[in-house]
């Protein structure tokens, strides 16, 4: 599925939630089930420091695609990471670099991706896109 197809799928899933509690319970569940990042990558090289929560991100190039694994010490942040990984992982580097992640806004979680929130997610998305650019450039050579 393309990045936008997955985004549509998520928007659709979230449209069934009646209130904030159902939505957050789902995100918390996602956080609990996110495939843990390989422990060896939970180090200083992979950390993205937010003031509030910490995020670890590992990118594994697979041909012209990138596979992402990630983790956070806060479960809600981790749930949102699960959504971002679902959208961007195993996609083409070029598509990752150019992705417009509109789904976050559509499912009413935009505030979690605001720089003032300082949970590491904004930097994580930036980092994912940078990987996309880097792999794209490398493969173009």
């Amino acid at each position: 599925m393309s990045i936008n197809e997955i985004q549509e799928e998520i928007v659709d899933e979230f449209s069934f939630f009646g209130d904030w509690m159902e939505k957050y319970e789902y995100i918390i569940d996602l956080g609990k089930s996110l495939p843990q990042i390989d422990e060896q990558y939970k180090d200083e090289d992979h950390i993205i420091k937010g003031c509030q929560s910490r995020v670890w991100l590992h990118a594994e190039p697979k041909g012209n695609q990138i596979q992402f694994t990630a983790d956070s010490d806060a479960i809600i942040t981790k749930g949102l990471i699960a959504l971002l990984v679902r959208v961007l992982s195993d996609q083409k580097a070029a598509d990752i670099a150019e992705a417009d992640l509109y789904f976050i806004d559509k499912i009413g979680l935009k505030e979690h991706l605001s720089p003032t929130r300082s949970n590491g997610l904004v930097s994580m998305v930036k980092q994912m896109k940078l990987y996309g650019l880097a792999i794209q450039a490398k493969n173009a050579n």
């Binding site: 957050y24 509030q52 929560s53 942040t77």
Partner: protein, 414 residues
Amino acid sequence: MSTITADTTSLDVQAIRSDFPILEREMRNKPMVFLDSAASSQKPDSVVKAMDYYYQQQNANVHRGVYQLSQEATDAYEKGRHLVQGFINAASEKEVLFVRGTTEGINLVASSYGRKFLQEGDEVIISAMEHHSNIVPWQLICEQTGAKLRVIPVTDEGELIMEEYEQMLNERTKIVAVVHVSNTLGTINPVERIIELAHAKDIPVLLDGAQAIPHLKIDVQALDVDFYTFSGHKMFGPTGIGILYGKEKWLNAMPPYQGGGEMIETVSFEKTTFNELPHKFEAGTPDIAGAVGLGAAVEYMEQIGHEAIQKHEHDLLVYGTEALSKIPGIRLIGTAEDKASVISFLLDGAHPYDVGTILDQMGIAVRTGHHCTQPLMDRYGIPGTVRASFAVYNTKEDIDRLVEGVRRAAKMLA
């Protein structure tokens, strides 16, 4: 202004709430519960109106005009200083400096006192529960002068280990700088004793009063403290203004902090002579409206009365501590004997950010994170806390909503 009953220790909290229109707002479609006054308090009508009036009717630059309006602006500005002097019982207005806030107050002392009195091998004592504002300025001046930072440790409950402090004091100690009330733990430190012990060795003491001034009656002469600094915005006043109180003998001995207008007497390219206190430390056009607003905040607090404020907040602290303690899996961080109305806590297995996010969904504003006290978080081996802080306008219903929210968060995050 709210009406106060004859009994000086009870207050009409609904009347007080009506002085703060912002408290009627909704967040996430629910009536807002504001429990983050330790970060910045809300402002009563009277403060906003005083500043409004200043800008609409009195605005001109201060201390320089020959015309009537400038005189009025100067009077309004200096009235702010006069009110603060009375509020903290300073011996003279010369000892009451306007600064931007606590952070600038500490930076001023660290820089000016430090440049003059600190040398290689000297020591500066702070504590393990300091706000970054009372750590970094001292680190900077220590780096410049070769002085060393010594740190008073804290107990598991969040109290200073006074025996260690006593042993730390020696002939190389040049200043002691500690927090009066901890913003993270709520601990009220035994500042009388801290000062007494330091003075016995002729060492001056600076107190970071940022969290004490909204709650406690401060009498700088009774404390015999050498420097006391606080922020207007945490005591119902505006942001951008604060106070550094300093004993005249120290302020006279210290070099100016910044150079510019207002702080000089004569300037030539050969030599500049500095203005008298307090203006020597107030370079440039000051925050005139801020001083007016701070004065109004002082009047507001004095009208309610410290006794009534303290009693109300203490009731909330006791009520909140008891109710929160009953929640399974909660851990209170900071259980000192003597506390201001701040409750920091953690839920078993839950990150503070997650708890704060769920409370926010319920319209409850708390602070999460390290509260600019990272060394203290390291001391307890935790990433941060959830902190609820109460002011005079908070109610038991606010606490009931908090408790309900924390229970809900505990269930969702379990």
